[in-house]
Each structure stands twice: as structure tokens, then as C-alpha cells.
């Protein structure tokens, strides 16, 4: 089977999965206990006619089947309904606004940095396994991996935000500032991102480190590694050319899964730093039972996961020449 055919097939199966998720996404929220009208019209004093109008506004007055058809039709028109908590605001507007960008930038850069640092450390530790540096790195990563990010963030805020005054305590930008240039804005934004990013990088490093280390230790047992050593190649070549490339293969699927974070965000970190991202939005939507927003986020997440997996499969096929498609 050719590469093109392989890609086409994967694409098709992704689409089918996506459709299934869309359907599931609708029904799961209807099956869940609790009447959605209660969340928008909780106030017991509301007059019956007010209640009826509210239901109508959110399309909850129709039979379930009608609602489903409407949901599908609207979905393909890019309309995900109206948010409950941000009364009347289209879900698409709630999700795709600043929040999406905030989470993308924060999570994207944190994961990337953690990936690079974690993998480099993991490679070195695997090479020197059993050494003091290796053991220290393992302890460090286990500790940072298990420290609650919430606590970590609070600590950073107290030390670097309050006492040392190096980083802002909350938000993504300084309040009430008129920026003259885009660069001024970017600098302010990045300054605000330091705190949450350091928190996340620290919490992510351990995971990547351990994963890379293990993956490498596996690779080290392979015959071609012995060949590389027998060839008297430099340690750098052995590690980064022969070992790392092979160890990266399992990491590709991990990275594909991490794409979810781009949409799910990191609720704890976003909360401590009031970094208004999707993690915080999901949390608040759950608390406020804003299921149109949750539905919307899940669709985006599903889309991201499917795309990422699709891309990962293709990349995998490209990076690992052994993979025969099919």
C-alpha cells in the first residue's frame, strides 16, 4: 500500500471517529443528571413565562431529536450555541478568544521547553545511569513531578512576585495600559508568562526526563548501539545520532497526546496565576454547569487529538523507515 493511500485511509478513519465523538458529545450531556434549564433559570422566583422564554433562547424547549439535528446543523455552520455562564455569548466566541491563545502560548512553550530540557537530561542520565548525577536527576524529577503545581505556583508568587517583585502576581497583561507598539505588548505578556511557565516547566520536566531515560535505556540494549560503540564513535554521535533518534519514536506518540494539553490547559496553574485559559474555563464551566461551553471545548479537544494522532502517524511513518503502511 502506498503512502498516499495510507494517509487517505487514516484520514477517513479520523473523520468517522470525529463524527462519533460529535454524536456522543451531544448525548452525554443530556444523559448527565440535572436539568440544564435549572442552571440557566435557577432563581426559584422566576415567573413561568420568564422560564419559558429562557428555554426558548437556549433551544431547550424543543424535543431532544430536534435539538440534536439543530446541534449538528449549527455545528457545521461553526455555531456551538450560547454559553450559560457568559449569558448570550456564543460558545465559539468564549473559546476562540483570548483564552485559547493564552493556553496555546503558555502550554505550547512550557511543553516545548520541558521537552527539550527533559529529553536532554534524560539522555545524559541514561548514558550515565547509576551515577550520582543520574540518581540526583531521578530524585529531582520525582519530587518536581509530585509537587502540586498549585503549591509550586503560590511559592513562586510569594517569593518572586511579592518579596522580590520580579514577576507579576496575576493576569496576562498589566491592567489599564495603552500599548504603543506590538512589541511593548508582547514584552508585557511574556513577563506575565514567566511565573506560570516556570511552574509548568518544572512540573513537566520530570515526566519527560523519566520517559526519555527509560526509552533510551531500552534502546541501549539494541545491537546497533553495540555496533555504534564498537565503531569507536564519539559519545555525542552515539547518544544524539544513534540513540536519541530511536528513543524519540515512542516520544512522538507521547507528544501527540500532549496536544490535548493545548486545549485542556492546566487548571491549577491557570488558577493560581489567573492565567485566563481553557483550563480555567473548563473548571468554571463544570462548576457553573455551562455545558454548551464544555461541549464546545470537547469538540475542539477531539479535533486536536485526532489531528495530532493523524499527524503523529504520518510523522512516524516518515521518521521510522521500517513502518510499512498498513
Amino acid at each position: 500500500m502506498g503512502f498516499k493511500e495510507y494517509v487517505a485511509r487514516r484520514l477517513l478513519s479520523s473523520l468517522v471517529t470525529f463524527f462519533l465523538i460529535i454524536v456522543l458529545n451531544f448525548f452525554i450531556f443530556r444523559i448527565m443528571p440535572g436539568d440544564p434549564t435549572r442552571t440557566i433559570a435557577r432563581d426559584a422566583r422566576l415567573l413561568p413565562e420568564q422560564r419559558e422564554l429562557l428555554k426558548k433562547r437556549f433551544g431547550l424547549d424543543r424535543p431532544l431529536w430536534d435539538q440534536f439535528i439543530l446541534y449538528l446543523v449549527n455545528l457545521f455552520r461553526g455555531d456551538l450555541g450560547l454559553s450559560f455562564q457568559y449569558r448570550g455569548t456564543p460558545v465559539v466566541e468564549v473559546i476562540l478568544g483570548r483564552r485559547m491563545l493564552n493556553t496555546f502560548l503558555l502550554m505550547g512553550s512550557s511543553i516545548a521547553v520541558a521537552l527539550v530540557i527533559g529529553m536532554t537530561l534524560g539522555t545524559i542520565a541514561a548514558w550515565k545511569r547509576g551515577s550520582k548525577a543520574d540518581i540526583a536527576a531521578i530524585i529531582f524529577s520525582l519530587v518536581t513531578y509530585s509537587i502540586p503545581t498549585f503549591w509550586m505556583g503560590m511559592l513562586l508568587i510569594l517569593v518572586f512576585g511579592y518579596y522580590l517583585d520580579w514577576i507579576p502576581i496575576s493576569g496576562t497583561i498589566t491592567t489599564g495600559v495603552e500599548y504603543q507598539t506590538f512589541w511593548e505588548y508582547a514584552a508585557d505578556y511574556l513577563h506575565h508568562m514567566v511565573g506560570p511557565m516556570v511552574t509548568l516547566v518544572i512540573s513537566f520536566i520530570g515526566y519527560h526526563f523519566l520517559l526519555m531515560r527509560n526509552s533510551l535505556l531500552d534502546v541501549f540494549t539494541e545491537d546497533y548501539m553495540l555496533t555504534a560503540i564498537a565503531k569507536g564513535l564519539s559519545t555525542r554521535t552515539i547518544l544524539f545520532k544513534h540513540a536519541m533518534r530511536n528513543a524519540l519514536l515512542p516520544m512522538i506518540s507521547v507528544m501527540a497526546l500532549e496536544v490535548v494539553y493545548l486545549f485542556s490547559g492546566a487548571t491549577a496553574t491557570e488558577t493560581v496565576f489567573t492565567w485566563q485559559g481553557l483550563g480555567l474555563l473548563i473548571y468554571e464551566s463544570v462548576v457553573k454547569q455551562d455545558y454548551p461551553v464544555l461541549q464546545g471545548i470537547f469538540i475542539f479537544m477531539a479535533l486536536a487529538v485526532l489531528t495530532a494522532n493523524f499527524v503523529a502517524d504520518v510523522v512516524y511513518a516518515l521518521v521510522d523507515p521500517r513502518i510499512r503502511y498498513g
Partner: protein, 599 residues
Amino acid sequence: MNKYKPLFILLALLLIIPYLATPLKASPEEKELKFELMVLSWDGLSVTAGEVIAEQLKKVGIKVEVSALDDAVMYPRIDKRDYDAEEMAYGVDPIPTYFYDRFHSSQDFEGGNNAWSYHNPEVDKLLDQAFSTGDVNKAKELFHRAEALIAEDVPYIPLFLAKDVHAFAKGWKNWTVMPAGPISPYNKLTPIYIYNEDGKDTMVIRYPSAPEPLSPMAADNGRALYYCSLVYDTLIAYDPHLKPIPWLAKSWEISDDGKTITFHLREGVKWHDGKPLTSEDVAFTFNYIKEKKVTGGIYTVHLIRLLDSVETPDEHTVVVHLKSPFPFALHVFGYTFIVPKHIWEKIDEYDWPASKAPEYAVGSGPFKFVKYVEGEYLELARFDDWWGKKPNIKRLIIKIIKEDESTILQIKKGEVTTFRYGLMSPGLIKAVRKDPDLQVVEAIDQWDYLLAFNNKRWPFTIKEVRQAIAYAIDKKEIVKKLLDVGIITDNYVFEQWYGDWANPNVPKYEYNPEKAKELLRKAGFVDVDGDGILEYAPEKAKPTTPSPTKTQTVQPTTQKPTPTPTTTEKPSGPDMTLVAGVIILIIIVLAALWYLKKR
């Protein structure tokens, strides 16, 4: 797949077991005086108070099982009246309409505010009268009579009103304290009079989450309402004692039959876009609310119900005709956000998204909308053409900060002035009170904590039990345990909020555990088995000096007590379930053995 079949069967059986096993522990202690007390897990005050109550009741022989639940679990149970007792905060606002909602039998529907299922025809009659008269003094008298009856019945026990604890950054002066604190939708004075000694002209108020919806017609939470109170004017405002004061209306008259209110508007009032504000705008606002059945705003529900028609005899006079008199009609119409007709006549959906604010957010209040950065902050600027006293500050920024701790740090740094909601965590309140870098302001808050009974459920069907519990609870101890963040109340209508609407002579249940025990005995409760917990055994309770002999224990179930639980759930049937449980257990063990052997 086949290989694992036994495993699946085993798992399935394991899942069934708990259902069969639950009734096993039912019958014997059925008549013990015990109940489940729900408290709200994320509210430290509710949880602590619940624990103290449980201890206090244990001393008089009542067993209380406290379960701290999330609101997603707790509220539906309250809505469905599926609970024994609950203790948490309810909210009030400047007019005591809640008095009707909480006690009128018509409000005992699923989700209705009469969550305790309190039914007293006499009270119903008094409330009906009180809420349909225009005569405020008559209404007050009816209130007093109703409150006396309710206090005698004790459908729930009022515990305390929470304190609103606010911290201000150093240098800020001259806020106004009133019920619900210095920063609330009813407090239009603080933002006008507050100033900074060091000349800072921007006040920053922290919100814990987004201010949306920004539409004054959709605003349905305290944050949105507070924003609206800054940008939109109302016909009246409140003084520090919640008495109506002239605002957009410089004066008003209410007809003797209470069915007509005439407002005389100030002259020369301008909208933020420069257009003049006239009686047309006011009439338009009222009609719009009624027509669209608007859900936001403060008293809109009553407005929709009461409004018959509006007349505008001239540019500065508004005459409101009511369908029926209402003692709080002045507040209902007076404290409604007035919107400009020239903008709103084009608006079809009143709950427009925040992105429309630059176009739609035109008010006539002391501050005007500048911009909203989604999820970050909302910027307002002083409206220099405002009719009243110019605010001292030039800018007012509402900044979203999730964490209380971060907020306090930013107030200490001077980046934030204060916050919208009072602090809720006793620990934090303690720290703030001691902090020399902060100015702490304490006021009465709008949250009243109460211990509610499900009046339809045994043992709360027995009035003496409710009263005994009222005597057995030491509110002073509760408030002390809560680091003094509450103000004890015995009233159902709060004097601190409503002045003489409260009955000063309601029966008070001073802490008296002896009296509580006596009442319980009268109701037929004695400790039959000597475990410290009372049981319902009326025959044994009768003699004044009882000597409970354990030899001839009368089964409480054999003689149905007069106030039987109307919904006797647990079938005390023979131990069929036990047998079934044992059989299933044996089957599981056999299945497990067989499975292990096969491997």
C-alpha cells in the same frame, strides 16, 4: 475473550453486592433520634458551624451525621426536599421579599425557596396580606405577626449573619459602610466618595471571576450587578441604612391606594454619549423589561409582575401604574437600571455578549465604559458630565484575580485597592485582621446562615424536637469557633438589614440544654439502651422519674407513634436480603476458586 468471561461475571457480581447489602443494616435503630446534616463542602463557615452543631446536639442525646457535600450534590437534594437537615448560607437583599419566598406554602415546589416545606395557613394568610398592601406600616405589622408565628414553629433556626470583611490598600479613605459592605450593588456611594491620600486616581477592584454578562438586562450575579451600578443610574439609591434617597428622581409620590408611583426626574441629565435622558427612557426601560420578560437586574421579577402601564406626562415625570399594590414597589421601580431608548430600541436580544459592550454599554451613571479585555480587566472612566458630585477617582478598573491570597498580596503592594466580595475563609480573615499593611473594614453581609429542617420528615415533624434543637444550640460558641466572622441573630427578618420590619419581640431560644432535654422527653424521647442517644419511646418517657429497665424493652415499631414519618422507607422485612447476600458471596467465592483452578 472467553478466557476472561468468569472474570467479568465476578466483577458484575461485585458491583451488585453493595445494592443488596445496603438494607442489611436498616431496621433495629430506626427510632433513634438521629439525622444527617448536609453542609457545603467549599464553605468553611458552613462546615465548621455544622461540626459545632453536631457536638452540641450530641450533648442532649441527638446523633448528627455531618456530610460535607458539593453544591452540585447538595442543591438538587434541597430542591427535591430529599434531606434531613442542612446548614448553609442563604442570601438577602434590601427588600425582604425572601420572607414570602421562604415561608409561604405556595413556595414549596421543587426548587422553590420554601426548602423546609413549612406549611402554616395562618402564616400564609398574613404573608398574602403583607405583600399585597401598599401601606408600609400595615405591612410591617403583618410581618411582625407572621414572624412571631414562624419563630414559635421554628421551621429553621437562624444562626448568624456573616460579616463582610473587606481589606483596603493603604492610603485609601472615605468609603461608605452599609449592609453587604463597602463594595456592593446597593452601595453607590463608595465609588463616588473614596479617594487616595497619595493622589492615586485609579481604583482597582478585584473580581474572582469574569464580570459578565455586561448587559444590565441580563446581569444576574453580584459582579455584573456591581458593574451595572457604576455605569447605569437608578431612580433612587440607598443611604447607609438602606433607606431610599433621591438619585435620578429628585422626588416621588406614592398614591394612597399604593397603585400609582410618580417619579420627578432631575433635569439636565445626560447619557454617556451626550444625548439627554428623559422620562421617555425610563418608560422605555420599564416596558422593555416587561415585554422581553428580562431576567437580569435586581427586582425585575417583581417589576414584570406589578407593572400595568407607564405614563410620561412630561419630559421629567414618570407615572407608574401597578396592577396591585406592593409594599416595596418604590424599590422595585426605583432600583432598576435605566437604559437609553435610542440604543436599546435596536436591541432584540437583551443578553448580548460582552463584545457588544463598546457599542451598547451606554449609561448615565458616574462611570462610563472604556474597554473590557476578556478575562483580564474591565476599565471604566469617570463621566465628567454626570449630574451628581464628581467622583474623586478618575478611573475605576475591575481586575479579575482568581485567588484570595494573590489578591491580598496585590493589595499590600498597592496594585489593587480592594475586592468585590468579602473574604470567606476564617484563616485568611484572621491573617488580614492582623496585617498592619491593610485597612480592614467589617460590615454586615448579605449571607444569613441557618440550620434548616425538612419539616416533612421525622423527627422534624415534631415541633418539640425543632424547639429542643433551638435550645440546644449555643450560637455564641459557633460564632466564636468561626473567629467572630458572624453576627448572631434570632430573627427571621433581620433588624440589621430591615430595621423595624423585624419583630423585636420574637420568641428567643436562649441556650438551655436542660430545657432541650425536657422538651425531648415530653415529645417521647428517652435513652432506652443507654448509649447516650435518645430513642423514641413515648411509654417510657411519660413518668417524671423514669427508670428505664432493659428487661422489658418495647419495640418502638410495634406501636406507631403519632407523628410517624410519612415516608417510611426501610422495609424491616426478614433477612431475605441477608440470605441472598450470603448465597451470592458463596457463588463469588466458588467462581473465584473455579477461575483460579482453570488457570
